[in-house]
């Protein structure tokens, strides 16, 4: 099979032919970008040698945007227009945000919340896109120099416990930032790749990932280059931020302060974060600040007091940990090692609690801030087709939360259970409730609870045009498909009439396609890169890809085709070669479709054969 050129020993492309791909860790508090250079994954730094980019975006009245350290420095001065921790709001409604106690002006709108800034309303997706854009520029500068070049794509990491809406929002942000997403990768899994390949690890490992705003616990089985996620659990709203917030409340209490303004709140939150970090190595710190009123805050804090006030947050990580173990049907003693990920795991009481729970010292040999980005870079490099000889490891990941449908009585029926290996497809048949019922409302939910109201609403759509029948006579098949990014697609069809639900899905907390198009348009700074040239480039890339794959398939496997089939394919291929010289993306698209159609059967035969060969290989090896 031609495609296997990516994994055949000694077949890695020459360096100048390599497609450059990056790994991006889009974190709640900090973000990073990494790439594989000369076979080694490295974090890419900015011009001043800084690896971590604070995930802070500031909107200015003239429409310009500051990202990173510059924005972070302005948090206390301009709290409403300086957005930190936007990741916490990705794919979330206003209702979810209220509990968060932030200084922002939220806009009450259905679906995903928005933030009011001096530059207009901003979706968390747009805020994240600004961070991604900057990381993309950093990577381009670092990999290509001032001359420029084109990135093949990126692997973007997400918390393993992110639901479908949060994942989709992350992918949309990357799209708006002009990034070709090769894969959404779960953060703990990315860390496991970096750790496992580095240490040639085998056996069962737990990855304990406490980031700025999210907690994940994944259990992986590492066997001969296969990274198999057995279970994952977590809390999508628990992280280092919460420790800062708890500490800030304590300071307010200690100093007997009146309710804080947004500016003072951000100021004290910043001071609290610094104190928390210092307490990792120091026994005591002094927290001093001058409030807007001129009032001076000055309190002393010992490590012990800090640990006592935040111990409940550490304890909160242990129940998902137990759940992940139970879901994987494992005991604590089955776990060979615990890999620590995320800056928040530096806190000594987190280390102690994890060590006590697993009855072994946690593994800290990779920088907990960088390991996710490094793993993402390694995966990006492999997906771009730059695998080195013998470098044929494989990742098998799972969905973190069950996917289901709303049934009569507000009960959730699970279609795909949590911890199913992706990609996965399941279908279930339903029937009508009333005589003559011609439409069926489908409500897709995610979560473990029995009541729909306790689960997260993902989308609603309607199947219309069901022929009138007696109640219970219609047979409606609802199909769920989760792809390798962990993203869900749902379709419904009435089996006796073949009516298909063609209505667009209304994501409950996502962006509609027209929102994304508008944001895309807004995000193009100059005419150089507009929607049209992008569409053309996309079709050209896909066309070239199809040509290369078809040529090499014909060269290697023409034995699977009759002469007529072979001629038919060659004719369509020649036409595609011609059309590709034109700048007409619609014609390229339609010819791509024709070649795809002509080669569909050929591709299927080659796939069948490679499946058979894989097993034949196994049987020989077993003898």
């Amino acid at each position: 099979m031609a495609l296997l050129q990516i994994s055949e020993p000694g077949e890695a492309p020459e360096p100048h032919q390599q497609r450059l791909a990056i790994g991006i860790d889009l974190g709640t508090t900090n973000s990073l970008v990494a790439a594989v250079r000369n076979s080694i994954a490295v974090v890419l730094e900015d011009g001043e040698g800084r690896a971590l980019l604070p995930s802070v975006v500031r909107y200015l009245p003239d429409g310009t945007v500051e990202v990173g350290q510059a924005a972070q420095a302005m948090q206390a001065k301009d709290p409403k227009n300086t957005i930190a921790s936007a990741k916490r709001f990705m794919g979330r409604g206003l209702k979810d945000a209220h509990a968060e106690n932030t200084s922002y002006d939220f806009i009450d709108a259905p679906g995903m919340l928005q933030l009011r800034t001096v530059a207009g309303p901003k979706s968390p997706v747009e805020v994240a896109a600004e961070i991604l854009k900057l990381l993309r520029r950093r990577a381009e500068l670092s990999l290509f120099g001032a001359g420029g070049g084109e990135l093949h794509g990126a692997v973007v990491t997400v918390p393993a416990y992110f639901d479908d809406a949060q994942r989709q929002a992350t992918k949309d942000a990357a799209r708006i930032a002009g990034i070709n997403v090769l894969r959404l990768l779960n953060e703990p899994t990315a860390a496991a790749i970096a750790y496992g390949l580095d240490n040639a690890a085998e056996g069962i490992y737990a990855v304990y990932d406490l980031g700025g705003g999210t907690f994940d616990l994944s259990i992986l089985k590492l066997t001969k280059g296969v990274f198999e996620v057995m279970s994952t659990s977590g809390d999508a709203a628990l992280g280092g931020d919460d420790f800062d917030h708890r500490l800030m409340c304590w300071v307010v209490d200690q100093a007997r302060l009146a309710p804080l303004s947004a500016m003072d709140m951000r100021l004290l939150l910043g001071k609290s974060r610094v104190a928390k970090e210092q307490l990792t190595t120091q026994e005591a710190v002094q927290i001093s600040a001058k409030l807007a009123s001129g009032e001076i805050v000055n309190v002393k804090l010992t490590r012990q007091v800090f640990q006592d006030m935040t111990q409940h947050l550490v304890a909160k990580t242990l129940s998902p940990t137990k759940k992940a173990l139970r879901d994987a049907a494992l005991k604590i003693e089955d776990v060979k090692g615990v890999v620590m990920v995320g800056g928040a795991t530096r806190m000594p009481h987190v280390q102690a609690a994890v060590g006590e729970f697993f009855r072994q010292a946690p593994l800290n040999n990779l920088d907990p801030d960088k390991v996710v980005a490094l793993g993402a870079a390694i995966q990006a490099n492999a997906l771009a087709g730059n695998r080195a000889a013998g470098d044929d490891w494989l990742l098998l990941d799972v969905i973190p939360l069950s996917l289901g449908l709303e049934m009569m009585g507000g009960l959730a029926e699970k279609i795909i259970p949590r911890n199913s290996t992706i990609p996965v497809a399941r279908a279930q048949e339903f029937t009508t409730f009333k005589d003559g019922q011609t439409a069926l409302a489908v409500h897709v939910v995610q979560g473990e609870r029995e009541l729909v109201s306790d689960c997260r609403s993902l989308a609603r759509f309607e199947l219309r045009g069901i022929p009138p029948m007696a109640a219970g006579a219609a047979r409606i098949r609802v199909s769920f498909q989760v792809d390798a990014d962990g993203l869900l697609a749902v379709s419904a069809r009435e089996l006796s009439s073949g009516v298909e639900a063609a209505v667009t899905v209304k994501p409950s907390y996502g962006l509609a396609e027209e929102d994304i198009t508008r944001m895309l348009r807004d995000s193009f700074d100059h005419a150089k890169d507009d929607v049209f040239t992008r569409a053309l480039r996309e079709q050209q890339v896909e066309g070239q890809r199809l040509l290369a794959a078809t040529h090499s398939a014909l060269a290697g496997d023409s034995g699977l085709l009759s002469d007529e089939e072979s001629t038919a394919i060659s004719n369509e291929v020649r036409e595609l070669e011609q059309v590709l010289t034109l700048s007409d993306h619609r014609r390229i698209k339609s010819q791509i479709d024709r070649v795809s159609q002509a080669t569909a059967e050929f591709a299927a035969r080659r796939m069948n054969r490679s499946v058979k060969n894989a097993l034949a290989g196994k049987q020989i090896a077993n003898i």
């Binding site: 066997t223 137990k322 997906l383 771009a384 199913s420 792809d483 795809s596 299927a604 097993l615 290989g617």
Partner: protein, 177 residues
């Protein structure tokens, strides 16, 4: 599309058809096939091959889960022999089994109301043992006696118990939270 996925799951993994299965060999064959068809291997292939890879990967995952879990494997074997194992209604279960079920449910409710983690863990252990015994019965009926109607009866009992197991699991998880 001519997906060669109509074939028997056992054939797919190159394993002998039967309830008793060498699980390590299944794991090995699965990893081999998954490596062959996984979408990660096709990220820069043309769209039709990417779609094909996803369909195949979904199928291999489904087939693996079906064979790996004993309850699903038993159901699958029954379906291969023309018995629809999905029939949940209109099946009369033996009287003593139903009585036993009621007793299980009562114990579960009691443990749940008392937030009794130890009692829940005890129920889980007891249920596990009961299911193992029934799996041994199913193995005999499926592999040795080839008595599929009898195996279907055992299978239905196991479905009840599996459902119960899920509820116990759920109760334990809730208690932890």
């Amino acid at each position: 599309m001519n997906l060669d996925i109509k074939q028997n799951h056992f054939t797919l993994f190159g394993l002998p058809e039967g309830f008793r299965l060498p699980l390590e060999e299944l794991d090995r064959a699965y990893r081999k096939l998954a490596a062959e068809v996984h979408p990660d291997r096709f990220t820069h292939a043309p769209e039709n091959e990417r779609r094909l890879s996803m369909q195949w990967a979904m199928h291999v995952n489904e087939a693996y889960q079906t064979l790996k879990k004993p309850l699903k494997r038993a159901g699958y074997l029954l379906s291969l022999h023309g018995i629809d194992p999905a029939i949940e209604t209109n099946t009369s279960m033996p009287h003593d089994f139903l009585i036993e079920q009621m007793e299980w449910r009562e114990s579960l409710e009691e443990a749940n109301e008392g937030h009794d983690a130890a009692a829940l863990a005890g129920l889980e252990t007891k249920l596990h043992a009961e299911m193992q015994a029934l799996y041994a019965v199913a193995e005999g009926q499926l592999d040795a006696q080839h008595d599929y109607p009898a195996a279907a009866g055992t299978f239905r009992k196991l479905m009840f118990l599996d459902k119960l197991g899920e509820e116990i699991h759920y109760a334990i998880t809730e208690l932890d939270d």
